[in-house]
């Protein structure tokens, strides 16, 4: 199982600084949560780890490879060891559930058809959707598509899996199912898991370590118990969901009175 180390990462987009000298260390075989208010660049961080974006400064080590210094070919090889669950599932809409899960196997292995069938059914069984194998993505509910996407992400038995907002927009039952699945996959297979989320109770319940990002910096870190009693104002506001605080309720704007009357 591979660790991820982020050293002195800086990244900006159109002169807006997203990350400023961020250090994060993700231990192998553990569940690490990266939390923060919307718009703090959590998804951007996952894209940086997957080398879909390049940092302005700093490095990201996946295992012992600097992911941004790899050649195109090495990068594609490295990405096969990473699974990723996208915010809106990102299933291939022209393929059935079965074919979606089989896709990475067909692409990267020379397994026989009967072998692929067995592996796909095992993965679908793990997420409880073996019976839905013939449905098309358009026939699935939001929670089901996310579970199929999870089965697809683990099809090649990755060593690192990244979850982008896995709990957003789920009903309480699907949410509980996903929480259980993520925890089980981690404990049974020992996959290094990174969860990007802003759902505090669910994420805290399954993560071993939490990083809280705010304003381009790591605002707080520690085990869920430590973070929940952290006294720094940013961490406190986020963990307890206070509407106004260090993170202001209002997006920066000029004086209200002046704006209305001008």
């Amino acid at each position: 199982m591979i660790p991820v180390k982020i050293n002195h990462l800086s990244f900006s987009r159109n002169s807006h600084v997203v990350f400023n000298d961020v250090n994060i260390s993700i231990d192998p075989g553990k569940v690490t949560a990266i939390m923060g208010p919307s718009g703090t660049g959590k998804t951007t961080l996952l894209r940086l780890i997957g080398a879909q974006l390049r940092p302005d400064a700093g490095q990201i080590l996946v295992g012992d490879q600097d992911i941004h210094r790899l050649s195109q070919k090495e990068l594609y090889l490295a990405r096969r060891k990473m699974g990723m669950l996208f915010q809106n599932a990102a299933l291939f809409t022209n393929l059935s559930v079965f074919e979606n899960v089989a896709f990475p196997l067909r692409e990267h292995t020379q397994l026989s058809e009967s072998m692929i069938r067995r592996i796909v059914l095992m993965k679908l069984q793990a997420v409880g959707l073996r019976g839905a194998r013939d449905l098309m993505p358009s026939e699935l509910s939001g929670g089901m598509s996310r579970r199929v996407a999870l089965a697809r992400a683990i099809a090649l038995d990755p060593q690192l899996i990244m979850y982008d907002e896995p709990f957003t927009g789920q009903d309480p039952i699907s949410m509980a199912v996903l929480v259980k699945l993520i925890k089980d996959l981690n404990t049974i297979l020992g996959i290094t898991s990174v969860i990007v989320s802003h759902d505090v109770p669910e994420t805290s319940s399954i993560s071993d370590y939490i990083y809280l990002i705010s304003d381009g910096k790591v605002a707080g870190k520690g085990s869920p118990a430590e973070v929940s009693v952290d006294s720094s104002p940013e961490v406190k506001q986020f963990m307890h969901g206070l509407p106004d605080g260090v993170v202001p309720f209002h997006y920066p704007a000029k004086d209200y009175r002046e704006d209305i009357l001008s």
């Binding site: 894209r47 879909q52 990473m82 699974g83 990102a90 299933l91 896709f103 692409e107 990267h108 001008s262």
Partner: protein, 371 residues
């Protein structure tokens, strides 16, 4: 029912009468009325506001501004009959008036910087397009090993872009042939040069209309589909998903489309040529009394094979252009539905533009080579 705001000058009583509802929605033409209003200078008069039924901030602001103007011109007047609540609002506006700034009329941006910015944007866009072509070429290297070639995808593209386009392209080419033969026939009949319809239609259809019409229909039908498909896949994060599986989206999505069109467009052009000529034959038979057999016999004699090949040589270039522009615009889609629409439009406009430029370029090249 709200009444519109009005103001009148009553000469006998030296009285300015304000009437109606002074509301944001009913002020309407009041500013124009105020401008036209005229009364003797340097008189003292009365303002009767008792007929105002409703007043809101906008009305009070309008009233305040008019009164200030009157004061600035040294008129002396007295306001009477204003409802106490309305008076309160007017006083409030007066108290705040120093804070209120009327925004300046927005000026239209100067032309020169606008042209400059557009130009720079177009150049950048052009460069990006070039780097995309480069990326496709670099990715093509992986297909040197035959086992990497995506035969399934290519065949599917040929079916989608080629087979399914046969009816529409056949029909349109046939109609173009008819139109063309009709127009030429009118002229040729005057000179009794009926037989030359064969020479002209052979040249026009095989060299220009067949390839051009095919390319333009495919650009509208398939180029737009490419942009929309790839754009939606991008919004749906399917492209990111491909990347995380360690697969190159260019190899998976762009190359099959290029090669599919490379096969489909030349074949469709042959099809279009045949139907175009049939259209000409049909019209020649009806209008100029040239039988189908005579037409075909003369066709063999006067239309050289070169005409046909010179037309076909252009088609692979059109194919690459349409596929590249369609896919490039698809990847340019940003994360919104609006963007899919605008990029699809752009894709079709740019492909057709490039097709016509390339066609003109080939004409220049052929004439230069004396073909």
């Amino acid at each position: 029912m709200a009444r519109s705001a009005n103001i009148t000058w009553e000469r006998e009583q030296s009285c300015l009468r304000l009437m109606g509802d002074w509301l944001c929605t009913t002020l309407g033409k009041l500013p124009a009325t105020l401008d036209k209003l005229s009364f003797p200078r340097h008189t003292s008069f009365m303002v009767d506001a008792s007929s105002i039924e409703k007043l809101d901030t906008a009305g009070a602001w309008m009233m305040h501004r008019y009164f200030s103007q009157l004061k600035a011109f040294n008129y002396s007047f007295e306001v009477q009959g204003l409802n106490p609540t309305h008076q309160l609002l007017l006083d409030r506006i007066e108290a705040q008036s120093s804070h209120i700034r009327v925004p300046e009329h927005p000026q239209s941006p100067p032309l020169l910087p606008f042209i400059g910015r557009e130009f720079v944007q177009k150049v950048l866009h052009f460069l990006e397009f070039h780097s995309f072509i480069g990326l496709a070429l670099a990715t093509f290297k992986q297909w040197f090993k035959p086992k990497n070639i995506q035969w399934n995808s290519i065949l599917k593209m040929i079916e989608e872009t080629g087979c399914k386009a046969l009816p529409i392209i056949g029909l349109l080419s046939f109609l173009i042939g008819i139109v063309l033969a009709y127009q030429m026939g009118l002229q040729l009949r005057d000179y009794s040069a009926n037989a030359y319809i064969v020479d002209f239609s052979g040249l026009a259809i095989l060299r220009e209309f067949g390839p051009l019409i095919t390319a333009i229909i495919v650009a509208g039908r398939t180029g737009s589909a490419f942009t929309a498909q790839i754009g939606i896949m991008k919004i749906n994060e399917e492209i990111d998903a491909l990347r995380t599986f360690g697969l190159s989206p260019v190899e998976r999505l762009v190359l099959p489309r290029i090669f599919g069109l490379l096969v489909a467009i030349p074949l469709l052009t042959v099809w279009a040529d045949a139907f175009g000529i049939m259209g000409c034959m049909f019209m020649a038979n009806h209008m100029l009394d040239i039988s189908y057999m005579d037409f075909l016999k003369r066709f063999q004699e006067v239309v050289p094979l070169k005409t046909y090949t010179l037309g076909l040589i252009k088609t692979p270039v059109f194919a690459v252009l349409i596929a590249q522009v369609g896919c490039f615009q698809g990847f340019q889609v940003a994360y919104s539905a609006d963007s899919v629409g605008s990029q699809t439009t752009r894709s079709v406009v740019q492909s057709i533009f490039l097709i016509i430029i390339t066609d003109a370029f080939f004409s220049v090249l052929y004439s230069w080579q004396g073909l």
